[in-house]
């Protein structure tokens, strides 16, 4: 049995989202996330870009983020991890599944932490 549900050849980086310059985010602060957690800047970019990604129909795909840059979108976990390690080697990079449930869940965590969601 194949270990990947979607063939690698189907992974893609749409031209419209490759290396899209993104305005610098505000100071990363994720309510409910431990301050010593790495990649909070990247996660802030994910949360900020999530409405657009969902509106463009990317739910369920995987986004690769480095610093302030949304590097690309991929269809499988293997494709996005390969892309991340190929491009950034052992430097930190962030992989996020585009999940429509995240805004509600992040808000719930923020509420429990006694803060407004980012």
């Amino acid at each position: 049995m194949s270990t990947e549900s979607v063939p690698k050849s189907q992974s893609s980086v749409p031209k419209d989202v490759t290396s899209v310059p993104i305005a610098p985010p505000s100071i990363p602060k994720i309510p409910g996330m431990s301050p010593d957690m790495p990649l909070q800047q990247e996660y802030s970019v994910y949360l900020r870009e999530l409405p657009r990604l969902l509106a463009e129909g990317h739910a369920g795909r995987y986004v690769l983020i480095k610093g302030d840059e949304l590097v690309g979108l991929y269809d499988t976990t293997t494709a996005v991890l390969e892309a991340g390690y190929e491009r950034f080697g052992l430097d930190p990079f962030c992989v996020q599944k585009v999940d429509p449930r995240d805004p509600e869940r992040v808000a719930a965590i923020a509420a429990r932490a006694g803060a407004c969601p980012p």
């Binding site: 049995m1 194949s2 991890l81 991340g84 390690y85 930190p92 962030c94 992989v95 429990r112």
Partner: protein, 148 residues
């Protein structure tokens, strides 16, 4: 189709799993002449309620895994919805026959770091892995079957 059968434990359907550094990370470790951590074995509970496979913090530390993302995970046993760090691993389920061809190998699998050790096991096998398998749970007979 390779099949594993077992008795249902009080914790549920338990499997012996081998976790290692992801295949993509190994290529980079080799290229930079850095040591590659040996895979670690873990007792895993098959959990159809878990969307993503989870790994105990102690195993994350043994493998020296770096964070590659986050997910919002709802784990009632440890306090409900919270942020969990995501790591990339390789997962191997060894077939009892000893034939490597009978193993289930997933070379690049994102897993969530969750402090499971307090619960008595070190991994939850979620629906991301079950999506590649057939899983039969016979409650009255107290046995399960896992094939892939």
């Amino acid at each position: 189709m390779p099949t594993l059968k077992g008795a249902v434990d009080r914790d549920g359907a338990l499997l012996n799993i081998e976790f290692g550094v992801s295949a993509s990370a190994i290529q980079n470790l080799r290229a930079s002449h850095r040591p590659i951590p040996q895979p670690v074995s873990a007792i895993a509970v098959v959990d159809s309620g878990a969307e993503v496979t989870c790994l105990d913090t102690s195993l994350v530390q043994k493998l020296g895994l770096s964070v590659v993302g986050f997910s919002t995970a709802n784990v009632p046993a440890i306090g409900g919805v919270h942020f969990s760090a995501m790591h990339a691993v390789s997962l191997t389920i060894r077939h009892p026959s000893g034939h490597a061809g009978g193993n289930l190998v997933i070379p690049d699998l994102p897993v969530l770091e969750v402090p499971l050790g307090v619960l008595g096991y070190h991994s939850l096998i979620g629906r991301d892995v079950l999506a590649k398998c057939h899983f039969v749970y016979d409650g009255p007979g107290s046995w399960f079957e896992f094939s892939y």
